[in-house]
């Protein structure tokens, strides 16, 4: 039985509750995706095994169809669509990032289709899980509330745990899934603890409200600092920043290669999206807490990632460490994001880096998938002499490696350049020193990227086996998209920068 007082409270709440107005146009990308994934799930039950390839086609069309509302939203006059009291916001930042997620998802579908068809595992579920995870990512870009951020995070993570363990009878795949799951849940727990502290200290879950309460100048206690740090740590796991990176190499190596591509690009970008949103809308005035913290994370991440990558023999493991180190470069400008001069340019840099990195890294995985169809090996030495029998793949891999290393005129250079620019723009010793660390690291990185190029161009073919590599059509399309993007971003950097510059977070406290 409820007491009288409790009833009274319930009555008051009930009277105040009004159904929220939903902007269906703003939600259209998510709705299309949700419809598509339901379709895949249902069709999977009814269609014949031989026709299951249809599911990959449906998935890719779903992703492309979801791009349409993104374009119409971008062209519409309403700049910012705010729903649920500002807890779910469609602004330019979220539109750009949704575009990145959908296009990366499309390329991942292209990478997966032949792999999934030949793998004799659960095809329908694969596509369903992939689309679900992508839906979580789309939600993440718009979430402006602790609760919706957390829901989006779990939405995108849980299918990803299952995808990592997708090869059920393969021990390594199981190991990948379990490691990813255990550490991912641990990270969620840490973050949740931080969030509960935040709620306790500020009495709100809405990011904008939190921003007003957490300022270094005003009342600022250890609880505030602890809360901020815990939340950042939670996402540091997600973006595999050192020292929270330990799951990444094993998970990347064990998971099916297309899933690894997905994890290293989209899932990582989702972590950065959340981090950026929190930094710019929830903690903009607590920069004295997170700036030094991110500075250390960034310096550690790129250095440790690089040094460990130098020692790898397995190509996927090497790419895993490389992507850890690249994550350090993405974090780099955030270390000065709270400085008066460099807030805008830091945001631009992070967005641009994610765009360019997505194109390049997916390209790398496309080549790895194509080559491993012939060599059936994950060793870097299996790329030996690739140029002599598969010149096109050899040249493309060279382009992608050069882009990751940041050599002009390929996409990676402008991403690195803008990151450095943002650091120096802060005109503080924090910025200068981190720029130097970054500069040294970009040289070290060439050690392992150059090693792959060396295998491709200068080493003999292992076993002298020079049978031609048959690249399936879907992989060829993926290669065409990613290499064109990598080149265009490098030669005409204005294209990528245009989108990165558009990406403003509504409600961010600008400096």
């Amino acid at each position: 039985m409820l007491s009288g007082a409790e009833l009274q409270i319930l009555n008051v709440l009930a009277a105040q509750w009004v159904a929220p107005t939903i902007d269906y146009h703003g939600l259209a990308p998510e709705l299309v995706l949700a419809g598509g994934l339901c379709l895949v799930l249902i069709l999977d039950l009814f269609i014949d095994d031989r026709k299951k390839w249809l599911l990959s086609v449906i998935s890719s069309f779903t992703l492309l169809a979801a791009m349409i509302p993104i374009l119409t939203l971008a062209l519409s006059d309403v700049q910012v669509r705010s729903m649920f009291d500002g807890r779910y916001v469609v602004d330019n930042f979220s539109l750009v990032m949704k575009g990145v997620f959908l296009l990366s998802g499309y390329v991942v579908v292209l990478l997966s289709s032949s792999h999934v068809e030949e793998g004799e595992y659960w095809r329908g579920e694969y596509w369903f899980l992939l689309l679900t995870s992508l839906l979580g990512m789309l939600m993440m870009t718009s979430s402006r509330d602790l609760v919706s951020i957390f829901v989006a995070l779990e939405f995108l993570s849980i299918p990803a745990y299952m995808l990592a363990a997708w090869r059920k009878r393969d021990e390594r795949s199981n190991e990948a899934g379990i490691k990813y799951f255990v550490l991912g849940v641990f990270a969620s727990a840490v973050m949740l603890y931080g969030m509960s502290l935040l709620y306790g200290a500020t009495n709100s879950t809405l990011l904008v409200d939190i921003a007003a309460k957490i300022t270094v100048e005003g009342e600022f206690s250890a609880i505030h600092a602890l809360a901020v740090v815990f939340v950042v740590v939670g996402f540091a796991f997600k973006v595999s920043a050192v020292p929270f990176h330990t799951w990444a190499p094993d998970t990347y190596e064990g998971a099916p290669t297309p899933v690894t591509a997905f994890l290293s690009v989209a899932s990582k970008a989702a972590g950065f999206v959340a981090l950026v949103v929190l930094i710019y809308t929830a903690f903009p005035l607590a920069q004295d807490v997170w700036q030094p913290f991110i500075w250390v994370l960034s310096a550690l991440t790129m250095t440790a990632g690089n040094v460990l990558a130098l020692k790898q023999h397995n190509i996927v493991r090497m790419i895993a460490y490389s992507s850890i180190s690249q994550g350090g470069f993405v974090l780099m400008p955030l270390a000065v994001a709270g400085m008066p001069n460099s807030g805008d340019s830091a945001l631009r840099s992070v967005v641009l880096y994610m765009i360019v990195y997505a194109a390049t890294n997916l390209g790398v995985f496309a080549v790895i998938l194509a080559v491993s169809r012939k060599t059936r090996s994950g060793e870097i030495s299996s790329f030996g002499g690739l140029f002599s029998y598969a010149p096109a793949l050899g040249v493309l891999m060279t382009l992608f490696m050069a882009s990751l290393a940041g050599i002009p005129p390929l996409g990676g250079w402008i991403a690195k350049f803008v990151a450095f620019q943002s650091l120096l723009q802060s005109q503080t010793s924090w910025g200068y020193t981190l720029a130097l660390v970054g500069a040294v690291n970009s040289v070290i990185a060439f050690g392992y990227y150059g090693n792959v190029m060396r295998e491709i161009w200068m080493r003999p073919v292992p076993d002298g086996d020079t049978t031609l590599i048959k690249t399936p059509g879907s992989l060829a399309i993926a290669l065409a998209i990613t290499s064109a993007a990598t080149l265009i971003f490098g030669v005409l950097p204005g294209v990528g920068l245009h989108f990165a510059d558009l990406a403003e977070i509504a409600g961010a406290i600008s400096r």
Partner: protein, 513 residues
């Protein structure tokens, strides 16, 4: 600075024409080697034709002005633009890069180094050409950086794929050194950008505003650029990649490396570092001069110790670039004119020496000096050409090398106002000693290789008398223009000085005249 924007399409066409050739080659998937070579040849001829037309249209009476200037939007968000132009300093190097590439292509028609793959080889050559030409015309620091880096990968592959025994080590070493330098250089560029008000990366703009930066900050920014350019030059102590890269690179790679790539560094000093940061340049000048003369002596001593002909020529590059840097470090128009002349002359002469070394290797299958000898009796033409180049390289008056070396030494007698005269006069004396050493190692090399009796017994099993054919037709075609240029520039150095001087004067105006 005055700009002449007429014919602003010329430079872009000249720079990117080689890329058209590359695309053409890519579009011929099953092409025969012969047609690949033809495409490369015609592309480089067409490129040079555009270059010559550019020189023809160039207004030599206004060589101090930027000509054929184009300034288009490129990366507006970071305030960098596609800003190109040439003046008297750029033009000779711009043309030199085109000439050398054409000659290298002609030479390669007959000499694609093992393991073949002419399509890839010629594509890389042409990409290199675009990068080199672009560096010399860029008037925007970011554009300069992109072109500067564009030459890295093709050279990396050229050494690593078509090089000698130790090619992989040499190529990685080359790449890491250069990349380290460029990373610091980029940071310096950015610092410069923000310290001048974050307005523009354009070099003329920075020249106008760079002087207002505080001296201490200038010195630090200069340090970043110094490392970037000094690695490329290469100056002592950043030179250690050079002997390896040169020795392992195929002939074509060595020629381009010596003739053009090293000049990117010295050109960077003259075009960017000195005029933008005059105060820092004054502070740094004695140290640059000091490292330059150390390079001269160290390079010469290194030469005397070599047993490999190609490695010896590589070390002589360190010494010669030392003279160039000495000229630059005096900060006088005399010295910088000499340095610019020295760059062109060194490009012609050392490029030629590497061609000869390549042909020696091809015929004798070795470059060990102790296994060579009697070239003049076996192949008189090659022997005489080699002698001619050796004389030019040691700075014989009447040949091009003299006009780079002698004025550079002389300029150290009276460096720019504010520099310590005594120090520079000491440098002058040491550098003069360097020329004696240069004569010693080159004449000794020539004596050991060209004179005496042929040592046929020593080539492992090859009964070489039959194989030893004198200079072939391809070699004649590729070499004659270089030989003529060395002679003509030696006799009429004013041809080049006349173009250089006005632009050098403008560059130096930052130093108060």
């Amino acid at each position: 600075m005055n700009m002449l924007p007429e014919n602003n399409w010329l430079l872009s066409v000249g720079t990117f024409l080689p890329m058209v050739g590359v695309v053409l080659m890519m579009l011929m998937p099953k092409a025969k080697d012969q047609s690949v070579k033809l495409v490369a040849l015609f592309t480089s001829i067409a490129t040079l034709a555009v270059g010559i037309y550019t020189a023809f249209k160039f207004d030599f009476d206004q060589a101090e002005k930027m000509q054929f200037v184009a300034n288009e939007n490129w990366i507006s968000v970071i305030k960098s633009s596609y800003f190109i132009g040439v003046d008297g300093i750029s033009l000779p190097l711009y043309l030199l890069s085109m000439v050398i590439t054409l000659l290298v292509v002609i030479y390669s028609l007959d000499h694609v180094p093992s393991p073949g793959k002419p399509k890839a080889f010629f594509s890389l050559l042409l990409v290199l050409q675009t990068g080199m030409a672009g560096t010399f015309i860029a008037q925007d620091l970011i554009l300069f950086f992109v072109f500067f880096e564009l030459v890295l990968l093709p050279m990396f592959f050229m050494i690593g794929v078509w090089g000698g025994e130790q090619r992989q080590y040499a190529s990685i070493k080359f790449f890491l050194y250069t990349m380290f330098g460029s990373a610091l250089m980029l940071v310096a560029f950015l610092a410069l950008f923000f310290k001048t008000g974050a307005e523009s990366f354009s070099i003329p703009y920075l020249i106008e505003n760079g002087g207002s930066i505080g001296k201490n900050i200038q010195i630090w920014i200069f340090a970043g650029m110094f490392v970037g350019f000094a690695v490329k030059v290469p100056m002592f102590p950043f030179h250690t990649w050079l002997p390896d890269a040169h020795t392992q690179a195929p002939t074509q790679g060595s020629v381009i490396l010596a003739a053009i790539l090293l000049k990117l560094g010295t050109y960077g000093f003259v075009r960017i570092a000195l005029p933008i940061l005059p105060d820092a340049a004054r502070e740094w000048a004695p140290y640059i001069g000091g490292l330059a003369v150390i390079g001269i002596i160290y390079g010469a001593l290194g030469c005397l110790a070599q047993t490999d002909m190609k490695r010896l020529i590589a070390f002589s590059s360190v010494a010669h670039m030392g003279f160039v840097m000495l000229g630059i470090s005096t900060l006088t128009s005399f010295g910088i004119n000499a340095a610019m002349f020295g760059m062109v002359a060194h490009g012609l002469i050392t490029g030629m020496l590497f061609f000869v070394a390549g042909s020696v290797k091809e015929r004798y299958h070795t470059l060990e000096i102790s296994k060579l000898g009697g070239m003049l009796t076996q192949m008189p033409h090659l022997g005489w050409i080699f002698g001619f180049c050796a004389m030019a390289s040691l700075g014989l008056p009447g040949l091009a090398g003299f006009w780079g070396e002698f004025p550079a030494i002389l300029s150290a007698y009276s460096p720019a106002a504010g520099l310590n005269e005594t120090v520079f006069r000491v440098f002058m004396v040491i550098a003069a000693l360097g020329t004696v050493l240069a004569a010693a190692y080159l004449l000794w090399l020539y004596q050991r290789i060209a004179f005496g009796t042929p040592k046929n017994a020593s080539h492992d099993g090859h009964s070489s008398h039959d194989e030893l054919h004198d200079v072939t037709i391809y070699e004649w075609v590729a070499w004659t223009p270089l030989l003529i240029a060395i002679l003509v520039l030696g006799i009429v150095p004013n041809l080049l000085f006349k173009v250089l001087d006005p632009a050098v004067q403008v560059t130096l105006s930052a130093f108060g005249g």
